[in-house]
Symmetry: C2
Subunit: 340 residues, 2 copies
């Protein structure tokens, strides 16, 4: 714009060779200077010339070329399913990315778009990530883990309901949440317990596990479970509340606090007394749940933090030989308030 480039037909990306030429040195020297190589001593004058030249040209090294040469990357691949995650999950993800960045990794988010299991893993492996952190990816198989490792991944970490052979498995047992909630209700004498299942697509994975937990909790207790599909909107909640008394339920565990709040309000509008006639339990322990009247009983979830997971990734990368272990990383406990 202001200064016409020497002769380039158009703007083209400057390379280290361009810098070398401008500074009147070799490409090797440029590399030494710009990477502060400690093994060689370069005269201060040369260093300065090189820096000047780089600055003038707006030279920026090419990450792909660098890692091609280096034979490894600092890429952490984060295959993410496209489910409408709750605020807790979102925050976790955000925190994880942050912490990984802080440890100088490049985070690549890679939704596996309807690719068949094997295809998706191939796509991931192309990036030669140093680590893969699969968050509840159903598609991660032992073979997939093998392929990734052979493609140079030092660590494959799975955060999922079940362990994955060959990967560092953080088993996150969603069923504990449903179990917790329903056990609480049973202990308080409830016998006919509804379980809200979100109709929103993508949530089935979580919902089913929580439902399983609920089932386990009533097993042999004489209490029964009733699945209640519900969409996250007022109409759906109103409709459910309208037929509430025909269901003969004395309690409901509502997947999470959002659905619980939605349903509780609808029930109250319908004249259902809470917790007298029906007890309500949510999950996630959101602040908002404490603002309703009655205050919402909920299941507090203790999860590994993004920070902690990032550290785990880093450790696994630096000690690739360590045996991939299996850990349970979720705790759940009922927080009793007023709605139950």
């Amino acid at each position: 714009m202001s200064q016409t480039p020497k002769k380039s037909a158009e703007r083209s990306v400057p390379t280290s060779a361009d810098v070398a030429r401008l500074a009147g040195v070799s490409r090797a020297t440029v590399s030494y200077v710009l990477n502060n190589a400690s093994s060689v001593r370069i005269s201060e004058a040369t260093r300065h010339r090189v820096r000047e030249a780089a600055e003038e040209l707006g030279y920026v090294p090419h990450a792909a070329a660098r890692s091609l040469r280096a034979g490894h990357t600092r890429t952490v691949l984060l295959p993410t399913a496209a489910f409408p995650a709750g605020p807790l999950h979102q925050q976790f993800l955000q925190e994880l990315q942050w912490a990984l960045r802080r440890l100088d990794y490049t985070v690549v988010q890679h939704g596996s778009l309807g690719l068949a299991g094997g295809e998706a893993v191939r796509a991931w492996a192309e990036l030669r990530p140093v680590a893969v952190v699969a968050l509840g990816e159903a598609g991660l198989t032992p073979q997939g883990v093998g392929l990734l490792r052979r493609s140079g991944a030092k660590a494959v970490i799975s955060l999922a309901p079940r362990r994955v052979e060959g990967a560092h498995s953080l088993v996150i047992d969603q069923s504990a949440i449903g179990r917790c909630a329903v056990t609480h209700l049973v202990e308080r004498g409830r016998r006919a317990i509804g379980v809200v299942l979100p109709r929103e697509p993508g949530l089935e994975m979580f919902a089913e596990h929580r439902m399983d937990g609920a089932r386990q909790a009533v097993a042999g207790s004489g209490a029964r479970i009733e699945p209640l599909p519900l969409s996250y909107d007022e109409e759906s909640a109103t409709a459910l509340a309208a037929r509430w008394r025909t269901l003969g339920l004395d309690a409901v565990y509502a997947y999470n606090d959002d659905y619980a709040m939605l349903l509780m309000r609808a029930l109250q509008d319908e004249g259902v007394d809470i917790p007298g006639e029906t007890a309500v339990v949510g999950a996630d322990d959101l602040l908002l749940g404490r603002l309703l009247r009655p205050r919402l009983t909920t299941v507090h979830i203790d999860m590994i933090t993004g920070q902690q997971l990032a550290e785990l990734v880093d450790r696994a990368v630096r000690e690739p030989e360590a045996e991939p272990g299996t850990h349970r990383v979720m705790g759940a406990r009922t927080v009793h308030r007023e709605s139950s």
Copy 2:
């Protein structure tokens, strides 16, 4: 494990040369076969041999090598600030990533970690992204845009409160939200209006703009504005409510629905009548706001969707010559309910 590799000291990543050797052909042929090159005809027998060999070795092409050779990438860089974004923002981000993936881009999330403005842009440019979508990055300067473009970025898109010279600027005017909310209050006869400012770090950017909008709304109306710092926890809300009557306010605009709900509950617990004594307005139009009593008046925000933004990115990438324009992409309108 089960089969001992020919002679490799350890598992090493197979390359196309390995595939060529095993199939008894040249690297070029391997490339042709695996990329379904249409310009050359390869015998079916050879194709088969190559595919077999690739399969057997578990060959996966190396993305870095490929893009080095190709001279360009399909990387979209998403520099993300580390602010605790609300559910709306999170969902937007999620949607954007998804849509970009669907358009076959590789999404790299890159929190600019305390790197000085220039440094951060350098780090981004190293990845040679084909596009950069800066979401409210304060650090994106016209020089930065220039550097990115010179590094091969076909599109630099900024989603921020102000336009950025040289970039496709989507101006997202946060002040409209505060203006909307407070105008509504003024029109309904309120004269002493509190404005809640979240104490949470990282939210200042938004909060200040919304505050500015509030200020504009009262200008020349005879009404006044009172800043009210508030943390997102019950103690803070209770404390603020306790001294409410000493403030002499007849209305409050509470940044967003979360803060509004928190404060409204605290005020009710303090015996403040809403909306009689104090009107409350939030923002974001969350479903939860409709569940409180009185129902929360709020500012509904019309934003560009992630999907739309992704399409815009794609278009900009494919027509790099198009003049980078400036568009206002946020609308705001008050949704009057019962709390005002």
